[in-house]
Symmetry: C2
Subunit: 576 residues, 2 copies
């Protein structure tokens, strides 16, 4: 909403010192993202906006910041909120203490489950908090035709979002083959958003294909993992979003690329960041700390998480400590150690010495969240039966520490003509149960690498369509685990015999908790422990599980439509 | 206009090399404004757009550029077209050969004469040419209340411009006292354009007043003349537009400010640039040459006239040689010497080895230009009579080489009770004749410094209201000169006795010629020579004359309302 003449007049008066500022931070060292220098002086705030920096100001409230550092609030330009399993407001609370005041989110996950209402849910749940969340319109819902998603977002669906001022453009265009092949629907979306920002996602794309993808109007990428890939993308005009998330960690590899000539074309992002990581290591503050430790100039590092993303997204009211900018500010005791002490959002102290000041902040709690229940067709032991129909079967072979899998061929264990889990060989039954339309679609397969010797585990978080995925040693326990997820309205469950050992409810679209960070992290730890009790050898078994249904990461995956050989990009039978 | 899906599909195919490019520039050295490096390779163009850079491409037409340099078309972010006295299309022709392909213009001068129709004239006259002119909406029409302008632009007038896609925001807010005082009308304009760009103009403003001005939302300045002033403005978030025009030359003084950390916040602009200067020294190419000569890194210099202004104005389709960008390109034989060889606009060769290719370019000649005739009330010798009414009179004392004047007090020469020009003391009669509304308003004064010993000269270019200003040794000759200007429908005239010695017609709003650069420059030289024949000692007498009516530059000026003491900002009598 534009400012009124009356309000502007008062801001100008405050800037001139004719009326006192609301707040003056006195004598701090301000990181100037424009000059690249550090200037000592006062910062005057009036009406939520910075009205003066440098010379002496007086305010109704004055705070001595001698010896402290003041930097702009941090901005993450690419974040999937659902990856944190926190509602936007709870995520905001969790990130504020790390100095983040603005996110640009791609609500791709919830859109795959709920479509437009899911995006509106995110828009609504991110209002009324001292934290700004912008959104990009999800470009690829459903992600592929090899799975059943909860919704489809057509161009006309997306067009309804464009009027929303917090929608900044089209989210990462993951369907880069579609762009290159000239898929009409894909190009229609791009053309429709061509006057806004269009984010990219093109792992390993290079040479003419990369140039073609960029020619389409796509202006960023966060998938580069090598220096060479990153440099090629930057040179071709992409904003290089250097990612350090929970699974993908590119900071260390890409940092050597940054120099004084090209740093304006780089920023730091998270992409996917789990609740435990937020609690343990932090957010962009962690990236900046790491970057400084690895040798990056601190002021450049600050630019990467403030000015640069603000400029890329043309958000001219933030990303600097300067007159006319929002008073989104982070106070540090030491610039090099980069530990966030206090945070101001729109001039209000929201984090005071590391503690979120709930009381001072009008956290608008939602009365009720209009989510969508899990819609699963009735299941019976018969639903999970795999008749033996050959000698060798395809087995999904986990690769430790990676999201890719290998396709392996094994003799299977059977009983009464049906395939059963083989604990000795660690070949377990895996199933994906369609949960959006009660279609009864169930994909069945085998996976090696979990190491369970009893029980089962199930999750309603399974990229990208988020059907319910489960693995276990017996059909009965798998069914119990899926039922436990259903009873929670979505979530993670660990089952042994008929008992639910541990669970994490994710009632919002089966993706997000309604709890704050601390509670959620405790629950997540309990399901991890539960899985370990079953003998699971994986450090983060639910994350591994959630990526086994994603048919765009090689080599063998399982969706509700069956086994997918990702290299061929087609459904393949279990038996050879 | 957004691209169609079909056209985008073809561009992507061309980028992939599946269909030949329209044109491939082979083997040149491309200045990469993103990486700050120079890369050797091909540049492929299709449908007016760059579709590939670097790897090998093939095209219907191929051009060997081995050993040459390729940089983006140059962008001037602040230019008053009227200062060149050329129509937009003729200015474009003149600037293209210097590598400029985009201007952001403030049509402030014509708006003072014609109001909104003047701005529409400029919009219309800059269509259909291979050169892009964007406009800022003039913020200060009329400039002051101490003169009679041809028009007033209210907020509601300006609001009609906002729908025009080539209007990028609000032009330089010259009324900085109005901003600081909280003038309602001024702030209304700022609020109205707060979602677009707002340019500034605040010579010597500093400290709290500068911060207040910037707090209002003003994001650039081109008036800094010292390093200290420039640095303060840059630090406070202003885009530093370093100016090298015909009268104001700040390049050399401000260049030492630029370093790798802050260069992104700087660009080069012209502000006012006369036709003769364009012909003799060039445009931004001249500034870049000078900057390199003075030690600036050439790639940084290129960024200052390409990427940086494009980014400031959020024009995401230009300012780089990269996929998806307009094929606006300049070819140089040598980057350091920076002499423009050839120029491409939207992929078309428009300047070939220094020669503008008129034939290949659809120069849409205007059938007729709807200008406004000079509207002057009938004049008689009595109109110019100054009765003697005291001993000492105020005399405008020219300061050589500067726009400021001093106020001097002198005994005047008189005849029959009326003041007359005093050739011996070089105190000549000066008059400003209102020419917009035939009001009959005439300001009369005395000026010292022209050195005329015969004749008179008159001009319809007189900042900012552009009434007719004339100086001469006799009332009769002054009248003849004013009449000569009127007969041309505006222009510059030099008169001796009853004869017109030389003239330059400026029939468009009394400000612009309809001739091309070469013809105009010849005419301008002839009026200069004519003035010299009268004994004029000034190098550029018409420029000096044009600023004598501008009541915002100290110290004593003359408008149609009378003598203005600029320091007091009020009308003062001729006699003490």
């Amino acid at each position: 909403m534009p400012i009124t003449v009356k309000a502007l007049k008062k801001r100008i008066s405050a800037a001139r010192g004719q009326i006192p500022a609301d707040l003056v931070l006195k004598g701090g060292q301000v990181v100037n993202v424009f000059s690249g220098k550090i200037q000592k002086g006062d910062v005057a705030i009036y009406d939520g906006v910075i009205v003066g920096v440098g010379p002496v100001y007086h305010g109704k409230e004055e705070k001595d910041l001698a010896g402290k550092w003041i930097i702009p609030g941090l901005i993450d330009g690419h974040f999937h909120i659902e990856s944190s399993m926190l509602l936007p407001r709870e995520l905001a609370a969790a990130l504020l203490i790390h100095g983040t005041t603005t996110l640009v989110a791609d609500p791709h996950e919830i859109a795959n489950v709920m479509g437009l209402p899911g995006i509106h849910l995110m828009l609504k749940e991110s209002l009324g908090i001292p934290f700004d969340i912008f959104f990009m319109a999800p470009s690829c819902v459903p992600a592929t035709h090899l799975e059943t998603a909860g919704a489809t977002l057509s161009v006309s669906d997306l067009s309804t979002l464009k009027e929303e001022p917090r929608i900044l453009g089209l989210a990462e265009m993951m369907n880069y083959p579609g762009v290159l092949m000239g898929d009409e629907e894909v190009l229609e979306k791009i053309v429709f958003f061509s006057d806004q920002m269009i984010d990219g996602h093109c792992p390993s794309l290079s040479d003419h294909d990369l140039q073609a993808y960029i020619t389409a109007g796509i202006r960023s990428d966060h998938e580069a993992t090598s220096l060479q890939e990153a440099l090629e993308k930057l040179e071709n005009g992409m904003m290089l979003m250097i990612r350090e998330g929970t699974s993908a960690k590119d900071l260390k590899d890409l940092l050597p690329l940054i120099n004084d000539k090209n740093s304006r074309r780089c920023c730091f992002v998270s992409d996917d960041l789990h609740a435990e990581d937020i609690q343990q290591r932090g957010h962009l503050d962690f990236m900046v700390r790491e970057a400084i430790r690895l040798g990056l100039d601190p002021v450049t590092a600050v630019q990467l998480v403030t000015r640069n993303p603000a400029e890329y997204f043309n958000q001219r009211d933030r990303g600097a400590i300067a007159p006319g900018y929002r008073a989104d500010m982070v106070i540090l005791d030491n610039l090099n150690r980069f530990e966030v002490t206090s945070v101001y959002k729109d001039g209000r102290l929201v984090v005071d010495h590391g503690v979120l000041d709930d009381a001072s902040v009008a956290w608008q709690k939602a009365a009720s969240i209009e989510s969508k229940p899990l819609n699963i067709a009735p299941l019976s032991p018969e639903s999970l039966r795999i008749p033996v129909s050959g000698n060798k079967a395809r087995v999904i072979d986990l690769v430790p520490g990676q999201l890719i899998t290998h396709e392996r061929y094994e003799d299977v264990k059977s009983k009464n003509g049906s395939v059963v889990s083989d604990i000795e060989s660690d070949i377990l039954k895996l199933c994906v149960v369609e949960r959006h339309h009660a279609s009864g679609c169930i994909g069945l397969g085998l996976v090696s690498g979990f190491g369970l010797n009893m029980g089962a585990m199930a999750s309603s978080v399974a990229h990208d369509s988020h059907n319910v995925i489960a693995v276990g040693v017996s059909d009965a326990e798998i069914l119990t685990a899926v039922e436990a997820v259903w009873l929670m309205g979505g979530g993670l469950a660990v089952v042994c015999d008929e008992e639910v050992l541990a669970e994490t409810p994710l009632p919002v679209a089966g993706l997000m908790s309604t709890e704050p960070l601390e509670t959620l992290v405790k629950q997540l730890r309990s399901v991890k422990k539960g899985a370990a009790k079953l003998g699971c050898v994986l450090e983060d078994p639910f994350m591994v599980l959630s990526f086994l249904a994603l048919p765009v990461i090689p080599e063998l995956k399982l969706t509700d439509k069956g086994l997918v050989n990702v290299n061929k990009f087609e459904i393949v039978p279990l038996f050879l």
